[in-house]
């Protein structure tokens, strides 16, 4: 392993910002008490105050009230809570039909699958070649028995943005609840629940240089949501368990540290990366050229396999990700690349670069140069693409 490594997998997780850690420290060593009621001892009421401050700050960035935001252990829990909570609340009363897209991240896709095993039915909307759902197909899929639509803001692998405002408007008009997984887009792209009639929003801290193990769910007032985990009365009696106060403080600080300038800087690196990588022969952009997460570049290189690319880059000190089956724990090719109509070969040869606070424009040039060499050398030994 090289001393100098360049981390370009910020879509998997990010490095914690030291300033976030500094904000958290007092709540680990001095103000470590649980958040007590207002009649508790002062360490506990201080903790309560800090927790509520963090909550209000994070909710505020979504245009929401503090009472509409519940802390969770991360986006997996948030999406499970949204889908299963609505299913449990409305399954008997209204219906047992859900709608989602075919390229959602696993917390949503697998929650839907789990609900199907319990007798719910689901429509998985296909996507176009860029990964966007068709709004008419959504309209057509909604039935009187539909209780929830769950479509992500931005895709985890190919970075494609959905038209959340229109999707929310359709759901609102048809009286169907709408959940969106905003894990990868939160703070990088504006989302205001006063303008977009979304009912549930999944967010997480670890993708914006915040701590791991803390996330949240925005729950619009009066949204029917059953409590699916049993315990105490924390988080407005919606999510039991002792509050993760250092995590909440860190999350709020991480949100505060994201600036539009920084996002523009990531976007410039993304654009430079896409431009440079598309100069490699037989390369193809995955995802939409403009409706795209500012920090995500995803390119497929023909005739080479992603795990080999990844290992060669690792030896040169670069950390990237691939949608190849060989790399995944399940040995299944990326459902996202297959979902946009790509074949297995396109999934196997896909390379995802995701930028973060600690990347520099020089990293882009370095990784592009390394990738150019690696792809060329793997093509020399590949039996494909020579005729």
């Amino acid at each position: 392993m090289l001393d100098q490594s360049v981390y370009l997998d910020n879509g998997a997780t990010t490095r914690l910002d030291e300033r976030v850690l500094e904000a958290m420290k007092p709540y680990l060593f001095e103000k470590y008490a649980v958040a007590t009621s207002q009649f508790g001892y002062s360490l506990g009421t201080d903790a309560r105050e800090a927790l509520e401050g963090a909550r209000a700050a994070i909710a505020g960035t979504l245009g929401a009230e503090g009472e509409e935001f519940v802390f969770t252990s991360g986006s997996t829990e948030s999406s499970n809570m949204a889908l299963k909570g609505v299913a449990m609340a409305l399954g008997e009363k209204k219906g047992r039909h859900l709608i989602t897209s075919s390229i959602e991240d696993f917390p949503v896709l697998h929650s839907v699958r789990a609900l199907e095993r319990q007798g719910f039915t689901a429509t998985r909307l296909g996507v176009d070649q860029y990964g966007r759902i068709d709004l008419d197909a959504l309209r057509a899929a909604i039935t009187p028995k539909t209780i929830l639509v769950s479509v992500q803001v931005a895709n985890q692998e190919i970075g494609t943005l959905q038209d959340i405002a229109s999707i929310a408007a359709i759901c609102h008009e048809r009286g169907v609840l709408f959940h969106t997984d905003a894990s990868h887009a939160f703070t990088r792209l504006p989302l205001d629940v006063r303008q977009v009639p979304v009912d549930l929003v999944t967010v997480t801290a670890h993708l914006i240089h915040g701590p791991k193990g803390i996330g949240g769910l925005y729950i619009r007032k009066n949204t029917p949501l059953a409590k699916w985990m049993d315990g105490g009365f924390q988080e407005f009696d919606k999510r039991p368990g002792e509050e993760n106060i250092p995590g909440a403080i860190g999350f709020a600080r991480a949100v505060e540290l994201v600036t539009p300038d920084e996002t523009a800087r990531l976007q410039a690196m993304r654009d430079r990366a896409i431009e440079r990588l598309l100069q490699i022969p037989h390369a193809e952009l995955n995802g939409h050229p403009t409706f795209r997460l500012p920090q995500n570049a995803n390119i497929s290189f023909r005739f080479v396999e992603g795990e080999s690319v990844l290992l060669h880059l690792d030896m040169r000190g670069f950390a990237v990700s691939t949608g190849s089956a060989c790399f995944s724990r399940s040995l299944e090719a990326s459902h996202v690349i297959l979902g946009i109509g790509g074949n297995h070969e396109r999934a196997h040869g896909s390379v995802r670069l995701t930028f973060g606070r600690y990347n520099h424009p020089e990293d882009v040039d370095a990784v592009a140069a390394a990738l150019t060499e690696v792809i060329a050398s793997l093509r020399v030994i590949s039996p494909l693409g020579k005729e």
Binding site: F303, V304, E305, E307, S308, L311, M315, S324, A325, C326, F327, L331, E332, A333, N343, H344, E345, H348, V380, I381, S382, P383, L384, K386
Partner: protein, 211 residues
Amino acid sequence: MPLPYSEIVMEHFRHPHNVGRMEDADAKAIEGSPACGDMVAVYLKVDPQTLRITDIKFESYGCASNIATGSIITELAKGKPLEEAKQITWKEASDALGGLPPIKTHCSVLAVDGLRAAIQNYEERHGLVKEQVPTTTEEILRRLKHVMNPVVGLDLVRTKMVHEVEITDGTVRVVVDLPADHQFAATIREGIVEKIEPLWDVKKVIVEFTE
């Protein structure tokens, strides 16, 4: 964190031996397909007198274990008589590499299959197949185990997609459990024909789909 690959695997992955295409090969074989994510081509040069492998090369589209196994298997086979090279097992290749992760068995078996198929290709081309046993359903099924079902990246037999095999007067009919208009139907048909056609007593291969 240490990689799941041994140092020897990594060395062969970094600097694979005997890599490249051989234009004037005496025999060659391709195993796997782009759809299943791993593909190996093996090329042989054979001394017709001694029946020794004088030169061997491979090409790989695949992960590190696929590349490393291609490298080691060609090293192990080089200079050996065909009869001996045929006997090289996946276990020997894996041992020579200091072990392979179990999840990567499929990708590495492919390289061993590639070598055997190339030797078989040489024998079939040079009339060295000793006993010309008539083709049986078992033999067809054995060969279909090397045709991938790209939907899941596993072979047709393991994924129970072979609906029927029928052999009549040199015509082999294979019925696959898949709609004829499925996106991978053509790829699968090609794979089946490629594996069964070289059999000495097969004159025609018909691939049909259930729907």
